[in-house]
């Protein structure tokens, strides 16, 4: 077996060749592949909001799993109390919170699990699940006034 591929690093060579004609063979990918999450400096990620970061094409942030969804959460700002329950428990980093405010859902990364709806404490809930194909504005217009309490 020969390992002939050159190092795949920040030059994005890996992605181009995966998508283009010249796909790398399994034995051509160098062992110990290094994928850089960012273009340029990686040091300050903890201090930068997503919109301030220079994501590289290797970062899954630039990908989407929207096609996984068959149902989707819809967010109603009018009822939300910004408690951030949905933010802390979303498994897919898909609740957009900035400066202690819930802003909405990142539909590129949300898989439609429904956890956020379950942990939302308002009545009626500020998040509800709907069919993926439904229209958000129409669902917001018909938002329930008060949900029956469980139990």
């Amino acid at each position: 077996m020969s390992i002939t591929g050159s190092a795949i690093g920040t030059d994005k060579r890996g992605i181009r060749e995966l998508g283009g004609e010249e796909k790398l063979g399994w034995d051509e990918v160098e062992q110990g592949v290094v994928l850089s999450s960012f273009d340029g400096s990686t040091e300050n990620a903890a201090f930068l909001k997503p919109e301030e970061r220079e994501y590289s094409d290797f970062n899954s942030y630039t990908a989407t799993v929207a096609s996984w969804r068959i149902i989707k959460p819809v967010y109603n700002r009018d009822i939300c109390i910004d408690c951030q329950n949905c933010w802390v428990w979303c498994p897919d980093t898909s609740i957009i919170s900035r400066d202690k405010q819930m802003l909405g859902i990142d539909y590129d990364h949300c898989k439609g699990c429904g956890v956020c709806v379950e942990v939302c404490p308002t009545n009626p809930k500020s998040l509800l699940m709907f069919n993926e194909a439904s229209d958000n504005d129409a669902e917001l217009a018909g938002w329930p006034v008060k949900e029956k309490k469980e139990k």
């Binding site: 890996g14 992605i15 995966l18 990918v29 592949v33 994928l35 999450s37 960012f38 990686t42 040091e43 990620a45 903890a46 201090f47 930068l48 909001k49 997503p50 970061r53 094409d57 290797f58 970062n59 899954s60 942030y61 630039t62 990908a63 989407t64 799993v65 996984w68 910004d82 408690c83 951030q84 329950n85 933010w87 802390v88 428990w89 979303c90 498994p91 897919d92 980093t93 898909s94 919170s97 400066d99 202690k100 990142d106 590129d108 990364h109 949300c110 898989k111 439609g112 699990c113 429904g114 956890v115 709806v117 379950e118 942990v119 699940m129």
Partner: protein, 317 residues
């Protein structure tokens, strides 16, 4: 160490996530809730290892990575080995003055599933604990080898159905008790061990911060509800975890320096373990009359364990 504020959820939410979406974990998987929380409770640079398992295969699917920190994938046994190797090298280079930024705060964290932690990586974990590296090991305990189709591990509780300990006409599922990994790690003389759960986000964040701040090898077992193998609706991950902590199937506690046990969560209403078992398909068969004795056994084990934990806390041992 730059720990972030966990005073309340609003403050906590001002952290910038370093675990990115479009990983391929199942919808509702608790692994990512736990990983996000770990990464949000510090601003320090993180060097993280993950061995083979759901977390690793789902967060580094070529050509993508979901990690905004240094992260290494290593073989099934060796999460602790890899990250403690990095830690040893970091210390050596610091001593030799060859680090680019010797003052940058760095923390070393290893993630492992229960299959790797309790079973296959057990001796390597034990070795790393004994060598005394400055790192934190976090076990994502979903009580089975989820990534390969739900085989039983030594973390699987008695009575659970798994693909290699099946429930049927002649069997009620796994016959053996779950291994007490927390006590085993405490017996290594670790300065900080704990069992934490993502539904209790604050005690989990506090425990993570304590482990990161404590010098030496720390160990945390986290309850990671697995929608696929435990068989519940993905929306119910937090609900099922609530049932786990409120039935005391998963008590939340820490042990400092091998002694001094503190209970970190006391349910106001302790619920019957039946309510927890009944919420998951993997325990469905236990509700047949002939398996009633297994539920009784599980409840009695829980009661004894809770008594033991309370006595230890009271006696500070």
């Amino acid at each position: 160490m730059a720990i972030t504020s966990i005073k309340n959820l609003k403050e906590f939410s001002t952290n910038n996530d370093r675990f990115e979406g479009a990983h391929l974990l199942c919808p509702g998987c608790a692994h990512s809730m736990i990983v996000r929380e770990l990464m949000n409770c510090t601003d320090d640079n993180l060097v993280i290892s993950s061995n083979t398992g759901c977390l690793e295969v789902s967060t580094a699917v070529y050509p993508y990575t979901s990690w905004d920190t240094s992260w290494i994938h290593i073989g099934f046994e060796n999460s602790a080995t890899a990250v403690t190797g990095a830690e040893a090298m970091y210390k050596a280079r610091k001593r030799k003055g060859t680090l680019k930024d010797p003052d940058a705060p760095v923390k070393f964290v290893a993630f492992g599933g229960d299959g790797s932690t309790y079973d296959i990586g057990f001796q390597w974990l034990s070795g790393a604990m004994e060598r005394g590296h400055d790192f934190t090991y976090i076990c994502l305990d979903n009580e089975n080898y989820a990534n390969t189709g739900g085989q039983r591990s030594s973390a699987t509780p008695i009575g659970a159905h798994t693909s290699t300990a099946q429930a049927g006409t002649h069997s009620y599922g796994k016959k053996q008790k779950k291994k007490d990994i927390v006590s085993i790690m405490a017996a290594h003389g670790s300065p900080y061990v704990a069992q934490l759960a993502p539904n209790k986000w604050k005690s989990m964040a506090k425990g993570f911060q304590k482990a990161l701040e404590t010098e030496g090898p720390c160990f945390i077992n986290t309850v990671s509800a697995c929608t696929t193998e435990w068989k519940f609706d993905p929306k119910d991950t937090i609900h099922v975890t609530d049932l786990a902590t409120d039935s005391l199937m998963f008590p939340i506690y820490e042990i400092i320096d091998g002694h001094e046990l503190n209970i970190l969560y006391r349910p106001k209403n302790i619920i019957k373990v039946e309510d927890y078992l009944g919420a998951q398909g993997r325990y469905k068969h236990l509700f047949k009359p002939e398996n009633k004795h297994v539920i009784e056994r599980i409840q009695s084990d829980i009661d004894k364990n809770w008594t033991m934990l309370q006595r230890r806390e009271e006696a500070k041992i």
